[in-house]
């Protein structure tokens, strides 16, 4: 009981900071180390920590499987969308300088959205991987113990 309490309190303190740090790394990737991949993985790590301490069902209530599957696709589509937007505005695929009157601002915009797409997909995939592995363990333990099929899995 005591150990559980310490873990819960520390996790509650840490997780918001990890999430905030992930967002910081995502958007500050232009000026310091960082970018989409690091931010996505950190975001997923925060949610995995939440799942480890508070249980898979709790985190499933917050971020459901359907949402994750949609996010995985949404990130890739966002990236492709930026590329197609470049094409529609007159340049080649994934040209950023046509996205605005000033080419440098266009580059900024393109890089911003592209990194956002990368971050979304990476975080969703990592979290979904964790769900799948942890889910299998739950199901097997539930079946072995003779309980009903566990809830969850929208």
């Amino acid at each position: 009981m005591n150990r559980q309490l310490v873990l819960r309190v520390i996790a509650k303190l840490l997780i918001p900071f990890i999430l905030l740090f992930a967002l910081y790394v995502q958007f500050h990737g232009d000026f310091g180390p960082g970018g989409g991949f690091q931010a996505g993985v950190s975001f997923a790590a925060a949610l995995i920590l939440y799942a480890l301490i508070f249980g898979l069902a709790a985190v499933r209530r917050q971020v459901s499987d359907m949402l994750l599957e949609r996010l995985i696709a949404a990130g890739v589509l966002l990236y492709g969308g930026v590329g197609i937007a470049g094409m529609l505005l007159g340049g080649n695929f994934l040209d950023y300088f046509v996205l605005d009157a000033d080419p440098v601002i266009g580059q900024h915009r393109g890089i911003f959205w592209v990194e956002a797409g990368v971050g979304i997909t990476v975080s969703a995939v990592m979290l979904k991987l964790f769900y799948l592995f942890a889910d299998r363990a739950d199901r097997r333990q539930g079946a072995a113990a003779g309980l009903n099929a566990p809830e969850g899995g929208a």
Binding site: F31, G32, P33, F37, V122, V125, L129, L132, F133, R136
Partner: protein, 126 residues
């Protein structure tokens, strides 16, 4: 002596690569093989990044007052390589889990025995 120091990073890289290769070939346990694969991949990261460093340089983030930067191209390649590596690792582990469910073990020899036994039992397929 300076040449020896100049090639030290390659020596470490090759040692790690050989260790990873040895684990992949020699160990029969599927999960340990995947650990060896990850080891191999990380040694390749070192192989690419080590030559990019310049003495007196700094990270490739343009800052006023800095003249020498490390080469950014290998960083980009290795960033992609790391993420792709974890993707393949996830797929490999998922396969290992399924193999375990189908065969009851993740030791290469036991899996091969079960496979051969079932083939002998069913007769040779055309």
């Amino acid at each position: 002596m300076s040449t020896l120091a100049g090639y030290f990073s390659y020596a470490v890289t090759i040692f790690l690569l050989v260790a990873g290769l040895y684990i992949i070939i020699a160990q029969g346990n599927l999960i340990k093989k995947l650990v060896g694969l990850s080891l191999l991949q990380t040694s390749v990261y070192l192989l690419y990044i080590a030559p990019g460093k310049l003495v007196g340089g700094t990270a490739p983030i343009i800052a006023p007052g800095q003249q020498i930067y490390a080469n950014p191209l290998p960083h980009v390649l290795i960033l992609t390589a790391i993420v792709v590596g974890v993707a393949t690792l996830a797929l490999g582990l998922a396969l290992a889990v399924r193999i375990h469910e189908a065969y009851g073990s993740i030791e290469e020899e036991e899996i091969l025995e079960k496979d051969n036994a079932s083939e002998d039992a069913e007769g040779v397929r055309a």
